[in-house]
Amino acid sequence: MDDLEKELGPLDDLEDDNDSSDDHSSIGTKKSKLPLVNPICEETLKETGFHQSMRACLEQIRDAMLHHRWQEAAEYMPCYSQMLEDTSHSTAQQSKELFWRISTEILHHHPNSRLEDYNNIYERMKHSGVKHYLMICLEHSFYLMLNGHIEDAKHQLSVAESWRHGKESAAQYQRTKLIQAYRSLLDYIIWCDKKFTHSKTDYHDAGDNQDMHSYFRQASVNLKEILKNPGVWDPFILSYVEMLEFYEDHDEALKVLNDYAYDNTFPPNPNAHVYLYQYLKRHNTTDKKLMKALKVLHVLVPSHELMLEYSSLLLQSEKKSDLQKALGVILEMLDFACWRGNVDVWKRLKAIIQKLQLQEDWKDVVSEKMAARKDWWPALHFTRFHASQDSEENPELKEVKASLTKILCPDLTLKYSAGQKTIVD
C-alpha cells in the first residue's frame, strides 16, 4: 500500500483490494490446535512490494547461509541493507539485530573478510540503535581480543563504559557490569604484558613501572566492585589474585578468596574452593586450614581430583575421626567410574585400610562404610571383565584391587582375583 493509504486508513466503500483474494473465502479458517513456530520469513497480508522484496532477500540469504554458500550470501547483503532504512517501527528492532548477527556470521566465514570490515560493520550497527549498543560493543571487543588487538579491545570497552543514554543505559546495568569486568580483565592482560617485558629487561624504567602500576590500579578498583556482585567470576578472580600476590597484598587476596568461596549469596562454585586451596597451599598454611578449605569442596564435588590430596591430609592427621573420614572420601571418589582405573586412588585406599587395621574395630568401620555400597560396588569394580581388562592393561592395579576385595566385601565371593577365574555358585 502507498504511504498515503497507510497513513490515512482505508476508505469506506473500498475498492475490493483483493490482492490476497485467496484468503477472503466465505469459509473461515480454523485455528490450529498445535502450537505453531513463528517463521522469520512469514508473509503477512497487505505486504508492500518493499517488504516482499526484503522477505525474499532474507529467505535467499538464509538459504545460502544454511548451505554455506557464503559468497552468495554476501552478494545479497547490499540489497538487504535497504532494510535498515525501513520506516515501519514494528519490526525495526528485530531487523537491526537480525542484520547485525547475519553480517557478523558472514564475515566469520567469508574468505575475503578483513579486520576493517569487522570494524566497519560493528561501528555502523552500534549506532543504528540504542537497545543493543552495549551488546555489540562487547562482541566487538571480544573479536578484537581474540585476534590479539588488546589495546583496541580495551578502547572499545572504555567507550562503552562511558555510554549514557537515559533510561536505556539504566535498564542495561547488568551489561554495563559485564563490560566493566571485561575491561578490567583487559587491563590485567596489559599489566601481564608489561610485567613480562619488565622482568625481561634489566633496565628498570620508572615510567614503565608507573604504567604498570596504573593498570593495576585501574583494574583492581573495578574488580573489587565487580566481585561484590553475586556471580561466577572465575577468570576475574584469578587475575585479581595474581595481581595482588605480585604486590604482596596477601590479606586482601585471602579476603577476596574467602568471600568468593563462602559468601552464601554467590552461587555454589567448586572452583572457588579450589582457588582458595591452591592459594593457601602456595603460602604454606597449616594442614588444618587446608583441610578446612577442602571440606566444602568434598561436599560439592566428591569426585574432584583434589580429594586425593584431601585424603592424604586426613591420613597424616592424628585424629581417629579423620582416618574414618579419609576412608569415606576415598570410597566416595571410587563411587565414580572415572577413578575406576586409577592406581593412585586404589593405593591410597590400601594405605588407609592398612592404617585402619591398626585399630581394633576396623572391620566394623569398613563394613559400616561399605554398607550402602555392597549392592553395586562389585558390579562397578570387581567383575570378571574388569579382571581380564585390568590384568591385561594394568597388572599393578589388579594386584592392589585384588588384595582389597576380601576386605571390602568379606561375605561376597567375587570373580575378581589375581590371574584366575573363579567359579561362582
Binding site: 500500500m1 502507498d2 504511504d3 498515503l4 497513513e7 490515512l8 476508505l11 475498492e15 475490493d16 483490494d17 483483493n18 490482492d19 483474494s21 485467496d22 484468503d23 477472503h24 473465502s25 466465505s26 469459509i27 508492500t48 512490494g49 518493499f50 517488504h51 516482499q52 522484496s53 525474499a56 532477500c57 529467505e59 535467499q60 559468497q71 554476501a74 552478494e75 545479497y76 547483503m77 547490499p78 540489497c79 541493507s81 535497504q82 535498515l84 532504512e85 520506516t87 542484520f99 553480517s103 564475515l107 567469508h110 575475503n112 573478510s113 576493517e116 570490515d117 570494524n119 566497519n120 560493520i121 561501528e123 555502523r124 550497527m125 552500534k126 549506532h127 543504528s128 567507550v159
Partner: protein
C-alpha cells in the same frame, strides 16, 4: 570501466565535445578521447569514518546559519503532471507512438484536472486552502485571482506567473496544497490523484490509442524500472521542493497489482465520463485474435492452435464485443485484454486436450507412438520443456525481487523528526552497503535487462529457454470427421458451481483448487507467470469465457453464480448436445 565513478555525468567535453569520461588516480574527471582534465572530482566515501566517535578533531568557526534553499510554490497536480510526462516519455522511448502522449494522454489529463476542479475551472477545489507563504497580502489576492481566471490557460503557467509577480523566489518548500489534498472532504470525493492513478490514466490512454501495450506489459515495465514509478518524484525539477505531507502522496513502496490498477482505471473512467472508446479493429494488436498469437508464441505452443483460438473467439462473440468499452450508466466495463486472451487460450487447450489429467496424456502417448518424423506436437514434451523453463524463470524472478532497490537516493521525509532519523539510517545503510559490495565484489541491484514483450525465448540460439515447438502439427489430436477437422477429445469438464453471495465473495479458487486437475492448475500458473497475475484471477476469467462459450450469446454481467453443475450440463446437452458442439467448431 569508470561508469560507476563518473555516475552518469553526461556533459560534453569542452574541447572535443565527446561524452566519454573517466576518473584519474587522483579522482579527477578527464575526457577519455582528448585527455582534458576538468575540475570535477569524484567524491570519496571513507568507509572507516566513524561519525559516532567522541573525540573532537577540529574546532572551527563556521557560520551558524545555513542559507536556505530557494524553491517555488507548486501544487500537487503540477507534480503529478511532471511525473506523468516522464512516464509518457519513457513509453515513447520504448516505441509507443507520439500520438499517445500528445493527443490522448494530455487531453485525458486536462479533462481530469477539469473534472476534479484542480484547474481549467472557475471553481477550483483548493482556492480556499491556497496559502501563500512569505508574500504579503497584495500578491496573495493576485495569486488567487490568477488561479481563478485560469480557465483555459495551462495551470503551471499560473503558478509561474505567480512566481514572476514576486521578484524573488520565496523560501518555499513543499507543495502548497498538500494539506488540502489530504483533507477528508477531498478524499471522499475520490477524485484526487495518487501514484496508482497515474498508471491507471496511462492505461486508459494506451487503450484509447490502441497501443499494443497491455496492462500486464505496463506493470512489467514499471517493475523492471523502464517506466518511472517508485521514486518518480526524484525527477521533479529542483525548484519544486518536496517536504512534509508530500511524502504521503509521492512516496510509494509498492507497485500496484493488475487488479488494483484495473479497478482504478474503471473508477477513473466513471469519473471522467468519457464517451465511447474508439473501436479496436481486428488488426489491432490488442484484439484477442492477434494478442493470442503473441501469447502462443511465448508459451511455445504450435501456431496451428491459433486457428482454434480464433474460432473460440468467434463463438464467444468476443470478436466484436471487446471492440467497445461499454459505457453503461452505472459502471463502465473495461475489458482486460491480456487476461481474457490468456483465458481464451486456456479454454481452447481444454477443448482440444481435455486437461483432466488423463485425456491429454493418453493423446500424448498416442502421438508418441504413431509419430515417426517428430513433426507432431506432443503435449508431454511441451510440458517438460515449459516446466523446466518456468522453474528457471521463477527462480530468476525471485532473485530479481530479492535484489530490487526500493529506497531512493534522495529520500522524502514526512516531518522534521523523521528527517533526522531517516538521514542517519540512510547513512548507516549506505555505508554497510558499500562494505558488503566491496566484500562480495557485486553491486547492489538487479542487472538491467532490455525490455521485451516476451518472457521466454524459444529456438536454437544460445541463451534460449529451449527448442521451439511452433512449427509442430496438431495432427495427433485431430481427426477427420465427415471431411472436417475435429478434435479427438469429445468431453469437456467444468468445475462445480454453487450459489454464493454476490457482494462478499471474491474468488473461490482457493477452495476449488484441490479438486481441479493438476494439468489445468499448472496451466493457470504458467499463464499467471507470463502475465504476472494471480492464478485465481485468471481462473475467474476462464470461468467467464466458458460461460460465454456455453451460452453462446452476449455476455450478461452477473456476479452471481447460481446455476448448479447439473443444470449447466443439461443445458449444454439439450441446447447444443455433444455432436453440435463439435460441429460448431468447423
Amino acid at each position: 570501466m569508470d561508469d560507476e565513478h563518473t555516475a552518469g555525468y553526461r556533459e560534453p567535453c569542452a574541447q572535443c565535445a565527446a561524452v566519454d569520461w573517466g576518473v584519474s588516480d587522483e579522482g579527477r574527471f578527464y575526457c577519455r578521447s582528448c585527455h582534458n582534465v576538468i575540475e570535477r572530482t569524484r567524491e570519496v566515501v571513507d568507509p572507516n569514518f566513524t561519525p559516532g566517535s567522541t573525540r573532537i578533531s577540529t574546532i572551527s568557526r563556521g557560520s551558524r546559519t545555513k542559507r536556505p534553499e530557494r524553491g517555488r510554490q507548486w501544487m500537487i497536480c503540477e507534480g503529478f503532471q511532471f511525473i506523468l510526462r516522464n512516464q509518457a516519455d519513457a513509453l515513447l522511448r520504448l516505441g509507443v507512438s507520439p500520438n499517445f502522449k500528445d493527443d490522448v494522454l494530455c487531453q485525458l489529463w486536462r479533462l481530469y484536472l477539469q473534472k476534479s476542479r484542480q484547474a481549467f475551472t472557475h471553481n477550483p477545489v483548493t482556492s480556499s486552502k491556497f496559502k501563500v507563504r512569505g508574500l504579503d497580502s497584495d500578491s496573495d489576492s493576485a495569486a488567487e485571482s490568477s488561479v481563478v481566471s485560469a480557465s483555459e490557460t495551462n495551470p503551471s503557467s499560473a503558478a509561474g506567473s505567480n512566481a514572476e509577480s514576486s521578484s524573488e523566489w520565496s523560501l518555499c518548500s513543499g507543495s502548497v496544497d498538500a494539506a488540502g489534498y489530504l483533507s477528508a472532504r477531498l478524499r471522499r470525493t475520490r477524485g484526487l490523484m495518487s501514484m496508482t492513478k497515474t498508471l491507471a490514466l496511462i492505461h486508459l490512454a494506451l487503450i484509447w490509442s490502441a497501443e499494443a501495450l497491455t496492462l500486464s506489459d505496463l506493470l512489467r515495465l514499471v517493475n523492471e524500472g523502464h517506466v518511472p514509478y517508485v521514486n518518480a518524484y526524484e525527477d521533479l525539477p529542483d525548484e519544486m521542493k518536496l517536504e512534509g505531507k508530500d511524502a504521503l502522496i509521492f512516496r510509494v513502496e509498492d507497485v500496484p497489482s493488475h487488479q488494483r490498477v484495473h479497478k482504478e482505471a474503471e473508477t477513473l473512467l466513471l469519473f471522467l465520463q468519457l464517451p465511447a472508446f474508439p473501436p479496436i479493429s481486428r488488426q489491432s494488436l490488442l484484439h484477442p485474435s492477434l494478442l493470442s498469437l503473441r501469447y502462443l508464441m511465448d508459451a511455445n505452443l504450435p501456431d496451428e492452435l491459433h486457428l482454434w483460438v480464433c474460432r473460440l473467439v468467434e463463438r464467444t462473440s468476443m470478436a466484436d464485443e471487446t471492440l467497445h468499452v461499454s459505457d453503461r450508466l452505472l459502471r463502465p466495463v473495461l475489458p482486460r485484454y491480456d487476461v481474457q486472451t490468456a483465458a481464451l487460450i486456456i479454454v481452447t487447450m481444454k477443448l482440444l486436450f481435455g486437461l483432466d489429467d488423463h485425456t491429454e496424456w493418453d493423446l500424448s502417448n498416442q502421438t508418441g507412438d504413431q509419430d515417426d518424423t517428430g513433426e507432431l506436437f506432443n503435449l508431454r514434451r511441451w510440458y517438460r520443456l515449459l516446466q523446466a523453463a518456468l522453474i528457471r524463470a521463477q527462480q530468476r524472478r525471485v532473485h530479481d525481487i530479492a535484489r530490487k532497490q526500493w529506497k531512493a537516493k534522495k529520500p522524502l521525509y514526512g516531518n522534521k523528526s523523521e528527517k533526522c532519523t531517516m538521514i542517519k539510517k540512510k547513512r548507516i545503510a549506505e555505508q554497510v552497503q558499500v562494505c558488503f559490495e566491496r566484500l562480495s565484489s557485486c553491486p547492489a541491484g538487479v542487472d538491467r535487462v532490455d525490455p521485451s514483450s516476451f518472457r521466454f525465448c524459444w529456438g536454437n540460439e544460445d541463451g534460449a529457454d529451449g527448442p521451439s515447438l511452433h512449427q509442430k502439427k496438431l495432427d495427433g489430436v485431430m481427426t477427420l470427421k465427415l471431411g472436417v477437422l475435429t478434435p479427438l477429445n469429445s468431453a469437456y469438464w467444468h468445475p462445480a458451481l454453487k450459489a454464493c453471495k454476490p457482494r462478499s465473495c471474491s474468488s473461490h479458487y482457493s477452495e476449488v483448487e484441490p479438486t481441479l486437475p493438476r494439468t489445468f492448475v499448472w496451466l493457470l500458473q504458467l499463464f499467471g507467470f507470463l502475465l504476472d497475475v494471480k492464478p485465481a484471477y485468471l481462473y475467474e476469467e476462464v470461468l467467464k469465457v466458458e460461460r460465454r462459450a456455453i451460452d453462446g450469446k452476449t455476455h450478461q454481467r452477473k456476479k452471481r453464480r447460481t446455476r448448479p453443475k447439473t443444470q449447466a450440463k443439461a443445458r449444454a446437452r439439450t441446447q447444443r448436445g455433444r455432436e453440435n458442439k463439435r460441429e460448431t467448431f468447423n
